[in-house]
Amino acid sequence: MRNFDIEKIRNDFPALSRYVHEKPLVYLDNAATTHKPQVVLDSVADYYRSFNANPHRGAHFLGVTATELYEASRETVRDFINASSSNEIIFTKNATEALNLIAYSYGMVNIEEGDEIVLCISEHHSNIVPWQNVAKSKKASLKYMYLDENHTLDLKEVYRKITDKTKLVSIAHMSNVLGTIYPVKEIVEYAHQKGAVVVIDGAQSVPHMKTDVRYIDADFLVFSGHKLMGPMGIGVLYGREELLLGMPPFLMGGDMIEYVEEETTTYAELPYKFEAGTPNVGGAIGLAAAIEYLSEIGFEALHKHEIELTTYALKRLKELPYVTIYGHKNPEQRGPVISFSMKGCHPHDVASIVDTYGVALRAGHHCAQPLMAYLKAPASSRISFYIYNTIQEIDILIDSLKKVRKWFL
């Protein structure tokens, strides 16, 4: 673990020194996407400047090197989430593609009429719509686990909803709206007793906390590089080898085949079976560089920093009587994501006005409409922190919220 020097860290991120509307950027939209440290940008550019080639196909030096770099990135990811084998790491374009891959290649094949798919009400659309599609096609039913008054998930609700009919449970480890961290290990254990497989949507959690797929005993885990300081266009699907082996391929084409004849095709081994077409080698290398950057800082230091920010932000927000905060009150029970509403000011007006003070936050349904309907809040404002945010930025946020309030008084 390297010494947590926030000034030094901020200097690693070129975007953070920019100005917006003549104010220093205060970027509090990290749950949507994170900024990239210079090392990530450099590692991608270096790859293109020195080694760019189509991997897995070339006997020439660039092709061999591109293959090695791509596979080394896979190994970095494997190690990062402690998978048993790099055969279990499939590169996709984002978490959404990974969830769709599971829905098409596992869900459509294994879920049958009358089976149940269980989700949490706070899922992101990417972890709802593919399952609606499976449920509809297969005449299975979709069941939601609802939240308690702390906006967290009571295990009693888990035991109620997961039954012998449940074939698949898919749940985010951390809600992108509420920040709630769900007890996925307990959910997996119970679901496995009931014979269901469990998909963990790690889009929000993997960037913020050590994720050990073997400890959680997850069947599948997905996440996106761009929320973890990596480039856009790269995501990860982890799947237990045994499950992946039994699944038909999803995207088909170059690189995922063994033999193609006019009428029939045999498929390549894992992980290539699920990686059709020219892969995003630059993206994988950038993701690996981001993981290395993160690992150098360490989750322990990151967690300490984020807890500090979240605690302080919750405290300051609570000082504003016109603000309602969603989600768990205890910062230890949540990730660095806070949704709130302001009496008399619509979230979109909040976002537009604080933007003129340089503050980037998000307003809307956060791709979680069922949750918003459940909370009876069509929209909310959301702030979300990462490694490079500071206490001073929270002060600027609070000042700007006070100014918003003035407009609407």
Partner: protein, 144 residues
């Protein structure tokens, strides 16, 4: 960009004003308009008789920009002919797109000229035009 040029007094006042926010008993032209990406969601209700918008009102929720724009539109079209309402909508949309810039050509929009600068806040253009697109859709359907 200055916030004052967007969140003008007239817009803020209209966003808070509830006088057009109601149901009409005998509405014969009802249209829903929504921006799924930001959640603005309104329903406009019109009573059209002999080619005239006899009365108009709206319900729904959204940001200050969308609510003010809707309410000001309702004020403007009430008692106007359907053709005039259409011209108003076209003029408003042309103003937003900066196709019409002459103040004199915009006079018919009265207070709704206040939205002239919304294109400086590109994320909010959709909010300002929502009611007007909905109106055009309503008229088109009524006339079909």
């Amino acid at each position: 960009m200055s916030l004052e040029s967007i969140y003008t007094d007239i817009i803020l006042e209209n966003s808070r004003s509830d006088h057009n926010r109601k149901h009409l008993d005998c509405a014969n032209c009802i249209e829903r308009g929504h921006n799924p990406s930001c959640g603005d969601d309104i329903v406009i209700e019109l009573i059209i008789k002999d080619g005239t918008v006899v009365d108009a009102a709206f319900t729904g929720s959204g940001c200050a920009i969308s609510q003010a724009s809707t309410s000001m539109m309702i004020d403007l079209i009430r008692s106007k002919s359907v053709d005039e309402a259409k011209v108003l909508a076209d003029t408003f949309l042309a103003m937003i797109k900066k196709i019409i810039e002459e103040e004199s050509d915009l006079e018919i929009l009265e207070d709704a000229i206040a939205f002239k600068n919304i294109s400086n806040m590109p994320a909010r253009v959709k909010c300002a035009v929502l009611a007007w697109h909905t109106l055009k859709e309503a008229i088109k359907r009524k006339q079909a």
